[in-house]
Structure formats: structure tokens, C-alpha cells
Amino acid sequence: MRWPEKSIAITGIGQSRISRDAGVSALSLTIDAAVEAIRDAGLTRADIDGIATWPGAIPDGSGFAPVGIPALQDALRLKVEWYSSTRETSGQFGAIFNAIGAIHAGLCRHVLVFRTMYQATARKQGLVNASYQPGQRTHAHMGWHAPYHAYVAATQQALYFARYVHESGIRPEQVAQIAINGRRNAALNPAAVYRTPITLDDYMASPILSTPLRLFDCDVPIDGSTAIILSHRDAAADLPNPPLRIEAIGTNMHYRNSWAQLDALATQAQPEVAAMMWNRTDLRPADVDVAELYDGFSFHTINWLENFGFCKRFEAGDFIEGGSRIALDGELPINTNGGALSAGRMHAYGQVHEACVQLWCRGGARQVKGRANGGPRVAALSTAGGPLAGCFLLVRD
């Protein structure tokens, strides 16, 4: 037990209804997820002694981060020993990594980690381009992009994907398999927002937003909330669910943390984060039974396949061609709930929830068999893009 994360486990999960129009408040969705996670872990509100989230409330009406710790703490009347939110961390998983540190430091034993999005309703209310406000000067990194009408993530990140296409030679019909796989899995997931299967023709016919990105390469804004309970192993022994142990984490920042100056255009900041994770475990890529890889854009998933070492550099196109390797019955099932592309943009926490569903064999029609039908035991999870990256391995012992 050389690395502290190995003594921390996920003990419960919860998720609100995911939809394109919640009809209830973002806080109400968050309460749904939090209460479900606490009960799933076999705990009560009184047991929760820590709270973490990413990125913390951003009350700009965009729905990106409508609920922070104070609103949830007060609604549930939680009394905690430690709490933290921050956006300046290893992608959306930073909240999980912070909680691991706090638990290991003895500050708390059961941390509620959540992420809420309300972008579907926000868009209906016309708040699409919160980043473009004519007449106002833009600050920080957006100041280098916005003057060129590059204020949306699709346009900014397409610069990385275009470079990846240039260096790897990946073809659109290969890229398409990420979206097709997601929708195929979403058809088996009653909670997914888009469940009608798509074909290669559908993908090729979907409009190009910003080359090489097509509409079907982009995740789906939703209203929804996800919560998990992270517990110290010693406090998890008597709980109802088999603890899902954090086997290794990747959190580092070795590249330039700049959307414009990132010094790894074709791989994004993932390679060293993945290397850190593998250095903290004896497990190898071949030991992974299921992978829930960030798919804010399909190219993130493609990058992670290579950077985790599931295939060689610039060979992901061949790896996913035809889609059989990454399907539920393939050698590496990925994004088994449909991912953000089809289940909805839970912003990496959909992946966390789904990894737990799979490791606890709750997947129903989409359950990965694996490990001689005892179900999958090792899940790889990743998040974020550009200069941001975070990843971890989750293990059912």
C-alpha cells in the first residue's frame, strides 16, 4: 500500500433523471443524486463528513455549474469536517483527487462528490454564448481566442483534433465509431437522452461545426446531476456495496497549461497524466476490463485510447475501425452507457457513475460480461481535454 489512493473507495452512487428539460431546479436534481448516493452507500446524512465538487458554483446563468457546495450543504443540512471545490485542477476529476487527499489526511471518512449541469434549460432560456458579450473586454485565456471568434470549445479544441488528424491520418469513418458505439450502448440504457441508433451514413451526414468536428462528435448538453460517495477503506468494510478501490490516479501538470501554448497539440495533456497513473500500479492496460473515456468530443476518447496505451500512438483509428473492439462484447468495451455523446454531458461524472454500475454488475442489458462472467473488475476512467487531464483506475477486489 505504497500509494494513498489505494485505501480510498467508492461506496455509493446516485444520479438524477438526465433530460433535455428537467422541469425542476438544478438544486433539486442535485439533491436527487446526493440522497440516492448516500442511501446507496448504506449511509445517512449524518455519516457524510466531507463534500467536494468541480468546479464550484458559477452563477452566470449558463447552466455550466449552477450548484456549488453551500447550496447543497444547506439544503441537506450537512455537517462536515472538510469541503472543497476548485476549477484549477486535473479536469473534472480534481474534486475526486482532492477528496482522496482529505480522506487520507484523516480530515473526513465519507465524502459526497457531485457534479451538476443545467445547460439544456439554460439554452432554452437563450444563454448560449455567455462567453461572447459584445462591448465587454475578455479576460485571461479567452482574451487570446475571443478576438478571432474562437469563443466556443468546439472551435478552440478543433485545433488539437485537426493536428491529430494531420499527424495520424485517421479517417472520418474511423472517428465515426466513437459516436456509433455510444449510441449503440445508449439504446440499452434507459437513462440516456439519445437512444436511436445511428449509422455511418448518419454520422457522415451530420453537419460539420468546425473542421474536423461534426455535430455527432460533440456531447449533448443536458440537465442532470451525479453524486458518488468516497470512503476510507476502513470505514467501508461493513457497507452494503463491495468497495470499488481507487487503484491509481493521474493528476500531474507537466505541459504548459494554456489552451493556445500547449506543447503537445496532437496528444493534448494526456500522456504524462496516464504515465503517472501507470507508475502507481502493477496493473497494465491489458488488465482493464472496461474503459469509460471522456467524450466531450469524440477525439478526446480517441486520444485517451492511445495515451492509456490501449493501442499505439496514432493507431487508434485502426483500433476502433468497424467498432467491434470497443463494443460491449469487444476486447475493450468503452463508454458503455452511451457516454456524453448519447447519454448526456454529465461532464465526466457520467463516466464515473457508469464505471461503478459496471463493476457492481448493475448494467442490465448493457452489462459487460468479462472476467469469466464474474463481471468486470478493473475500470479505466479519464477526463478532460486540451491542457487539462485526469485519470484513474477503479478496482473491485
Partner: protein
């Protein structure tokens, strides 16, 4: 014909003022270390190569190479003319200095990674926004 929506302009401070105003004199100004001559971008007062604090704006040739580009087809704001090219240009003097920019005065669909480009400026309020155009010159 209605005019396109204005460019959302950056907030100006002591570090980035030279970059956004050098175009008034036709100059692309990039911060550079006076001691070891490393270019430092975005502009700051610290040289990451030698730890000198003597870093300030100097004109560069305005020429570079397209490291990546995307042809944007979606009008993210009403009236935004599409398609347009957003590119990342590495300057000739030090290609790890990346400039996000638009490639203009050409067919957006004709631009490729690896193309050579040169700067031209477009005034917007009190700033001069560096844009790039294809560079056919053989100098």
C-alpha cells in the same frame, strides 16, 4: 449588407498592451528576453529559460507557419459570416510561440496545415488585431 459582429476584444494590461497595439506602427511585437534572447509568450516579465526579468516587446518578422487550423462553419453568434478559418500559427523566430488567429484574404477552404503566412493588422477600437494572410513570397 450588414457589418459582421465586432470582434470581442481583450482586456489590456501592462503585459499584453504591446502585442495588441504594435499594429499601429505595422509591427508584431512579441516579448523577448534581453539576456538570452528567448521569446516569451504570452507576454510576462520572467524568462523561463534564464530567469531574467529583463523581458520586453520586440518586433518580429510577422511571418510564420500554420501549425493547425479549423474551418468554422457554424455561426455561433447571429450575423457571424461563415465559413472562417481559426488557426494556430507558430512564428518563424521561435515556432513554440503560438498565435491563435484568423487566416484572411483567401478562400477559407484552401488553407492547409504547413502553409506559410504573414501578418496583417485590423484596427478595432483602440487595438490592432493581428491577422494572417497566405504568404506566397519567396524572400
Amino acid at each position: 449588407m450588414t457589418s459582421p459582429p465586432p470582434r470581442p476584444l481583450p482586456a489590456i494590461d501592462a503585459d499584453n498592451a504591446a502585442f495588441w497595439t504594435g499594429g499601429r506602427n505595422g509591427e508584431l511585437l512579441i516579448h523577448r528576453c534581453a539576456r538570452c534572447r528567448t521569446y516569451v509568450h504570452p507576454p510576462t516579465s520572467f524568462c523561463p529559460a534564464c530567469e531574467s526579468r529583463e523581458v520586453g516587446p520586440e518586433p518580429v518578422s510577422g511571418k510564420g507557419v500554420i501549425l493547425s487550423l479549423t474551418v468554422n462553419h457554424r455561426a455561433w453568434f447571429p450575423g457571424l459570416p461563415v465559413p472562417y478559418v481559426v488557426a494556430m500559427v507558430g512564428i518563424d523566430e521561435q515556432p513554440d510561440v503560438h498565435l491563435i488567429t484568423n487566416i484572411v484574404d483567401c478562400d477559407p477552404l484552401s488553407v492547409r496545415i504547413g502553409d506559410r503566412v504573414k501578418v496583417r493588422f485590423e484596427q478595432a477600437e483602440d487595438l490592432w488585431v493581428p491577422l494572417f494572410v497566405p504568404d506566397q513570397g519567396k524572400d
